[in-house]
């Protein structure tokens, strides 16, 4: 095979992969965990002016800006990255203020009352969990600010109640397992309609 032919083939291959694999993913976007009181996805992406002020005022550093790999429409919008910090809107450094909502100039993130505060839920991978593997841990249970979100089996192994969990990511951030046994997903999230 000639060098030119090889390069041509390589170019075509790359184009096909990006057409069928990468591009749809970028266009569709990922299911992101949004700050508390964020508008529904389409409205959020339309209203947010990507000013990054929410990320700047977040006292825990939990809010980061979505990158291109998170989706074309989502680039620059705020998302919660529980590995960087938990959302402490429920209890802690934010002190029930929702500083991200206070500073948002366009209302893409709004103040939300406690019953409607739900960013998502923590998801357990029991194969990685220290307690489920027989060790003693339960750091997740220690740091959880929502009573009933985590309950224990035999006072030793945690189970996560997605309905009660607000998706603050405290347990994900604190989980000492390597790799982490917990991830934060947007499952069950409650968003606001623009009015």
């Amino acid at each position: 095979m000639k060098r030119r032919e090889f390069l041509k083939l390589f170019g075509v291959g790359a184009a096909v992969i990006s057409l069928f694999y990468v591009l749809p993913r970028i266009i569709r976007g990922k299911e992101l965990v949004r700050p508390p009181g964020a508008l529904v996805e389409d409205a959020l992406n339309a209203v947010c002016i990507r000013c990054a002020r929410c990320a700047q005022v977040c006292p825990t550093g939990a809010i980061v800006l979505a990158s291109l790999s998170d989706g074309f429409r989502e680039v620059g919008t705020p998302k919660i990255d529980a590995l960087r910090g938990p959302c402490e809107r429920v209890q802690g450094r934010c002190e029930q203020q929702a500083k991200c909502a206070q500073i948002c100039p366009t209302g893409a993130i709004r103040q939300v009352d406690r019953p409607n505060l739900k960013m998502g839920s923590a998801v357990l991978n029991a194969d990685r969990c220290i307690a489920w593997r027989g060790g003693s841990c339960l750091v997740c249970y220690e740091v959880c600010p929502v009573q009933g979100a985590i309950s224990l089996i035999d006072e030793a192994r945690p189970i996560f109640n997605a309905d009660v969990c607000v998706g603050c990511g405290r347990c994900v951030f604190a989980c000492p397992a390597q790799p982490k046994a917990l991830t934060l997903a947007s499952e069950g999230e409650r968003r606001l309609w623009p009015t």
Binding site: R93, I130, G135, C137, E142, C171, A174, P176
Partner: protein, 350 residues
């Protein structure tokens, strides 16, 4: 002509001094490496015999710790308060019964007061009034410095916990410096007797002080049954080490840690104890009790028994004997866990 001669002289002097300098440098390097290989520069763990108790403290080549013998002091002191008796009065009485703080803390020592401020919730932390009362009492012993230090539970912000619980303001008002130990540089300390770990990274502040007053809260704990003084020492570690403890073997690691960073004095805040569940969200029970001892293992064993009694357990002593980290600590010789061997003085203030 004359000038060039001077220059030559100067040059020769410089060349000689450079050689001498290099020699000196080489000698210095050899000396330093030699000392390092002999482990003379790193912190050491030294056993100090004091009367009836054996205390293990970490110290550097420059800091010498002297712990006065615990003459005639009973093993564990329980001071109960009737209605209206302040927590400060309980602390003062407990210290008096231990022989007085002036006789306990060596004058001129660096003292660390280690409350449990692991959480944002006031029920889950040491009453800041008790921490402040201990700081005020310690000042009478004329220490070089008093540090109130804590590194909150993994994932919690220590600075926020110190502020919202009122620990920072009250401790500073009492005359202590307040420190987030989680943000401190760390030093590695060998754990020669360790059952699960052979070394541990602790906050540098802890290494640099010579007297530790452990002021835990009496609570239930999801992973270790109870959290009292032995478990409270995890608040001298960076988050990474706390994580490692959970991965390795939590109870054994707690015992191992206390075998090298052993608190010299334990004063347990059991004014309001957390029963049923913990370390957060348990049922609070008013005991108006302060428990003090020079032996952290004995203190924990007696305090745990009080906790189980408050819960109405049928066999509180049996339950204590099943708390793994307390038993492991006793096995390492940190203190006495067997209740029949612990002398208890139980007084009530009214």
């Amino acid at each position: 002509m004359e000038r060039s001669e001077t220059e030559e002289k100067v040059a020769s002097r410089i060349s000689v001094s450079r050689r001498t300098f290099l020699k000196l440098l080489a000698a210095g390097a050899v000396g330093f490496l030699g000392a390092k290989s002999l482990d003379l520069l790193s912190p050491r763990v030294t056993e100090i015999q004091t009367g009836t108790t054996t205390a293990t403290v970490t110290k550097t080549a420059t800091v010498t710790a002297t712990i006065p013998p615990a003459s005639k002091a009973p093993g564990v002191i329980l001071v109960r308060g009737g209605p209206g008796v302040s927590s400060q009065a309980l602390v003062e009485k407990a210290l008096e019964l231990l022989g007085g703080i002036e006789k306990l803390a060596p004058p001129g020592a660096g003292v660390l007061v280690k409350p449990n401020v692991g959480f944002y919730d006031k029920d889950a932390v040491t009453d800041p009034q008790i921490t402040a009362a201990i700081v005020r009492a310690l000042r009478r012993a004329k220490p070089a410095r008093i540090v109130v230090g804590e590194s909150s539970v993994r994932g919690n912000d220590t600075e926020h916990a110190l502020r919202v619980t009122g620990t920072r303001s009250l401790a500073e008002e009492a005359g202590a410096e307040v420190k987030d130990l989680g943000k401190d540089p760390t030093v590695t300390v060998g754990v020669p007797k360790g059952g699960a770990i052979s070394s541990v990274n602790v906050s540098k502040t802890v290494r640099d002080i010579s007297y530790i007053v452990n002021v835990p809260k009496l609570k239930r704990h999801s992973a270790t049954v109870t959290t009292i003084s032995l478990k409270n020492m995890m608040g001298t570690l960076p988050d990474s080490e706390k994580g490692r403890f959970h991965q390795v073997n939590l109870s054994q690691c707690i015992a191992d840690l206390n075998s090298v960073i052993r608190p010299n004095l334990v004063i347990i805040d059991a004014t309001k104890a957390m029963t049923k569940r913990g370390p957060t969200g348990g049922t609070m029970v008013d005991l108006n009790l302060v428990i003090a001892s020079l032996d952290p293992v004995a203190a924990d064993a007696v305090a745990a028994e009080e906790l189980f009694k408050a819960e109405g357990a049928s066999d509180p002593r049996g339950a204590v004997s099943r708390i793994e980290h307390i038993q492991r600590a006793a096995e390492l010789g940190i203190g006495v866990a067997e209740r029949s061997k612990i002398e208890v003085l139980d007084v009530t203030l009214s």
